[in-house]
Symmetry: C2
Subunit: 109 residues, 2 copies
């Protein structure tokens, strides 16, 4: 039984980093942003998101800081680090390279 996938595997880091490029966001906000910016096509499960955030933080690509949301709630805001921006560019390039290669093959084969 094939499992429905909400994401293209391996792109979650890319999506997270990219959505933090403009401004720091908390986990919940990241999920909503990915969802809305993709026209409700991409959904990040919380069980995927939070481990990913911790992974990215450990790599030094994002940093966390507790702040208050506009709703007056405490939330963990993540911001891109300098290394994170570099990583983002690498992942962007990799995505372009691989996805266009797939596109090429699909057009030709």
């Amino acid at each position: 039984m094939p499992k429905p996938s909400d994401l293209l595997q391996g792109t979650l880091d890319l999506l997270i980093l990219k959505s933090l490029l403009r401004e720091p966001l908390h986990g919940w906000g990241i999920a909503k942003r990915i969802q809305s910016l993709s026209d409700e096509v991409l959904f990040v499960q919380q069980g995927s998101l939070y481990p990913a955030l911790h992974r990215l933080e450990q790599q030094g690509w994002i940093v966390a800081e507790w702040k208050n949301t506009e709703l007056g709630r405490s939330a963990k805001f993540y911001a891109l680090t300098r290394d994170g921006k570099k990583q983002l560019e690498q992942e962007l390039e990799n995505w372009k390279r691989l996805s266009s290669a797939v596109g090429l093959l699909l057009k030709r084969a």
Copy 2:
């Protein structure tokens, strides 16, 4: 330490099915075809390919038959079944849906 990926995860089935659309091929040939049609960008490891072929065969999407290659060697040729074509179309659609959603997000975010 990030692991270099030769493929976008989850696209292998799609690539295999698509490369069998024109004519049956054996494993070795599938790998070479994916490689050349993608302008040497996508590489399928044999340790990924053969398990995938067996998986696809078990699903009923491809069938195997031993034949001789042009070089006079015995090789296992795989052909798309009717179900395989259906599956291919579904995976094609899914790929388009998800990859364009990623593209959209990357453009916007």
